[in-house]
């Protein structure tokens, strides 16, 4: 029941946003025809072809529905800039972005949560203050600034990593993606440190922890209980982290000149390649909606009270 309600809510949001994405075509300066023509010559034939393709002579709701119908059948239109089907372009670029964000997420989780836990266990001491400050700095630092600083130090200065390119073969690709993934992970580390530290501190103050300690349970066992219960607030961060990663990957891909979805978005936006922008916006919308839904499923698995309509404490 809980999940059904969430599913319906997500569907409504996605539907509303798809209307917004469709309207991007009308946001672009100049007439829709001009936007879709791009640099092609405006002959009567090309204009007629575009009018037929996008149903420009029909009322707006009909245009929207035919566009949506095309999208649902997997027809995302053709790029104005390259003349290629948009779906193919996305397919070419998707793997790199997935690899980059996946790598970044793994790094962020491996660094962020242990740091947050360490801070919570040494609350108020110098180590904790250092962790908190580092977390805030990480949270504040935009990925492109971090990326360029990493390039200055580790690529140009020390020569440990290549400056640009994606590399050949698995090991080389991992090496090429390391600096971008670190730049991407820094913000997420900041967020995870903050959320996991705060959540664990709250749990460690609970009576059951005092009781467990009083009964003589070892520190690892007590920490285990507290960690399990601080999972829900940490999960709250997952949605924020994924949206942060998606925005960050745009900046990181441009910084490191990587051919992923993010740099495609920037190129298309600069060129006013609206069909590609629409497809990317829609893809991002779906991704974020899916992640938020997954987070909700994760909640109800980690904390049964959520399912019963209560609030996670």
């Amino acid at each position: 029941m809980f999940l059904l309600r969430r599913l319906a809510g997500t569907a409504v949001v996605v539907a509303l946003l798809s209307i917004g994405v469709f309207c991007l075509l009308y946001l672009a300066p100049g007439s829709v025809q001009q936007t879709l023509l791009g640099t092609r010559p405006a002959t009567p034939e090309t204009i007629a072809a575009i009018q037929a393709r996008y149903h420009l002579n029909d009322p707006l709701p009909v245009q929207y529905l035919s566009w949506l119908g095309g999208v649902l059948r997997g027809d995302l239109g053709t790029s104005i800039r390259t003349g290629m089907p948009v779906a193919d372009m996305l397919g070419q670029r998707l793997p790199l972005t997935l690899a980059l964000t996946g790598y970044g997420t793994v790094l962020a989780v491996l660094v962020g949560i242990p740091l947050g836990v360490a801070g919570a266990l040494r609350r108020g001491r110098a180590a904790d203050r250092l962790v908190v400050t580092a977390g805030v700095v990480g949270l504040s630092a935009p990925p492109f600034a971090v990326g360029l600083l990493l390039l200055v130090v580790f690529a140009a200065g020390l020569g440990w990593f290549p400056v640009y390119g994606v590399g050949e073969g698995f090991a080389d690709q991992v090496l090429h993606l390391t600096l971008p993934a670190v730049a991407l992970a820094v913000g997420a580390v900041g967020m995870l440190v903050r959320f996991s530290r705060a959540a664990l501190i709250r749990e460690l103050d609970q009576d059951y922890v005092v009781f467990a300690r009083a009964r003589g349970l070892g520190a690892p066992a007590v920490l285990g209980y507290a960690l399990r219960n601080s999972l829900v607030p940490i999960l709250t961060a997952a949605g924020l982290i994924v949206t942060g990663m998606l925005a960050g990957t745009v900046l990181v891909e441009v910084t490191f000149a990587l051919p992923g979805l993010g740099s495609l978005l920037v190129d298309s936006v600069t060129f006013k390649d609206v069909p590609v922008v629409q497809a990317l916006a829609l893809l991002l919308t779906l991704l974020i909606a899916a992640v938020n839904l997954l987070v909700d499923v994760g909640y109800s698995a980690a904390d049964p009270r959520v399912r019963l309509g209560g609030r996670p404490s």
Binding site: L24, V136, T255
Partner: protein, 277 residues
Amino acid sequence: MTRPSRVVTRPPVSVVTALAILLAVAVAAAFAPWLVPDATGQDLMLGISGPGPGHPLGTDDLGRDVLELLVAGARTAVPGALCVAAGSMLIGNLVGLPAGYLGGWADALAMRWADLMFSLPALLVAIVVAGVLGGGYGLAIAVLVVLFAPTDTRVVRGAVLEQRHRPYVEAARLKNLSAWRIMTRHVWPNIAPVALANAFLNFAYALVSLASLSFLGLGVPAGSPDWGRTLSDNRTQLLANPWAVIAPGLAIIATAAALNIVGDWLYERVDRRGRTR
């Protein structure tokens, strides 16, 4: 009403450092035209050079002094972000105050709106909308104000909900004061500190977002002395003069971190005071 005696605590080192950074940035932003009257002046004969006499941080490929660009960049970076923080705080107060105080359908409507906006990643939407509309600094600021307002609305509404059942509100209601008057004269002064602390956090995020847009070429025009723009202009010169990249990069990170540290600190103080009252 007697004020609770407030224990004067010295702010932690990190906050003092952050305030010092903010002061330096504020001075640079306020006095840049007098401090560095010719920041974008080019010296094409000199071209790119490392740190040396006359140019403590060297020059970029157009022969512009990196240190002067850094100081002038504050003037471009700060006012825009301030506009975003102030604008979204204004909207947040105007919507959040009645939503929290009146409740009912106005509240439900405002919160559904905030929920919808919340599911949007602000920076990505700003990139798409500002890009498709043709870019520009003013446009970027306007888009960010719209995208940031829901956060402020939620914070203000939450703070109002905590206040509306306090005795002083009931007393004001018994005196038959209008809802508008109670909201603006009685409730608002009590939630203003929270809104201000939140504005600091928004300020930091706006600074980073605007720098990001400028970095992508969707904010300030090319050649402007903006930190994000300078970074993007100079990123091909990593090897020739690394300082041309390090200086603006560190400036963005330090300023944003300082704003967040001060904002967090304010939040904590406001929150603690709210609980003991």
